[in-house]
């Protein structure tokens, strides 16, 4: 198990699985093997943290609600649509 700070071919091959590892999409034995490597390899360990940070940043961005003005206009459209009820095949 390498503790190298650089990226070896083995590390680059493992990185292909890193995304699936972070999604919990690996068999337990493979997951444990990767965890052991991440603990021992600075390069891959850092890549794992960087990827987790990118994922967390995306998820945080996804929780941002639309601006209030946007949703006010959206609500007006809903009220107008329901009031008009000129569109067929809506709810019975």
């Amino acid at each position: 198990m390498s503790a190298a700070t650089g990226s070896s071919p083995r590390c680059r091959a493992l990185l292909l699985e890193l995304s699936r590892y972070l999604d919990g999409d690996l068999a337990p034995a493979r997951r444990r093997a990767i965890e052991r490597h991440l603990a021992a390899c600075t390069c891959c360990g850092t890549m794992s943290i960087r990827m987790r940070t990118a994922i967390a940043a995306c998820r945080a961005e996804g929780t941002q609600p639309p601006p209030r003005a946007v949703m006010v206009r959206a609500a007006k459209r809903v009220r107008a649509l329901i009031a008009k009820s000129g569109i067929t095949a809506g709810p019975r």
């Binding site: 650089g6 995304s19 999409d25 850092t46 967390a56 961005e61 929780t63």
Partner: protein, 219 residues
């Protein structure tokens, strides 16, 4: 399938289950859409209202994250509103609504755009974004001890993320949006995109590699 929670997120030997699915603010878990569809189809006005508001919020988020803001967002919201209203009474499988909604929104956004601004001229090769012999630098060198979630809350990082997302090809950006931001499962993303689950996983991996490289760069 056995799951366990880890720091508030589900970790599972998955078939593409998304640990973020429960955490989406204002989006609700997947089966809540099915319940709203059933109620709305049965004449529940409040359920219909909530469903139509949800549909528009999805359209806004998609348009903002994938297509850019402005007139496109409002047009996509209108399209999502009208199609949801037309469709909700005809749906035989309420559980299929969520995938249908994202597919509809995606099509509305993509048809509405005349030309994609900011589309990269070429896809970066992995050699350009994977670490070289010197190894990768931490994303926030000033605070190396901070965890990923704490770093993600950093406003500078958020700005860099938005720039990094804009630099991705549209299909990658869409997959990141659906999977990471909206909490769809791999299977649902594959249904929305019309590709295989392996294709989704591969593109998601490449997108994540590019994003972490962009977030870790000095600029």
């Amino acid at each position: 399938m056995v799951t366990k929670k880890s720091r508030g997120r589900r970790v599972t030997k998955s078939q593409g289950v998304n640990p973020v699915a429960k955490e989406r603010a204002g989006n609700g878990p997947p089966d809540e859409y099915a319940d709203l569809v059933r109620l709305a189809a049965a004449g529940d006005a409040e359920a219909l209202d909530r469903l139509l508001m949800r549909a528009q919020a999805v359209a806004w988020r998609f348009s903002s994250a994938v297509c850019g803001r402005g007139n496109d967002a409002e047009d996509a919201m209108q399209e999502a509103l009208l199609k949801t209203y037309r469709y909700v009474g005809r749906l035989r499988e309420p559980e299929a609504f969520r995938s249908w909604l994202y597919r509809t929104v995606r099509n509305a956004c993509l048809i509405g755009r005349r030309k994609r601004a900011g589309e990269p001229a070429r896809l970066q090769s992995l050699d350009e974004v994977l670490p070289g012999p010197e190894g990768p630098r931490p994303i926030d060198a000033a605070h190396p001890g901070k965890g990923p979630e704490a770093l993600a809350a950093n406003s500078g990082l958020r700005r860099r993320l938005r720039e990094a997302l804009r630099a991705l090809p549209a299909s990658y950006r869409t997959i990141v949006f659906l999977r990471e931001m909206e909490g769809l499962s791999t299977k649902e993303v594959a249904t929305v995109m019309g590709v295989s689950e392996d294709n989704v996983k591969t593109r998601l991996y490449r997108a994540r590699v590019q994003l972490q490289a962009a977030l870790g760069s000095q600029s």
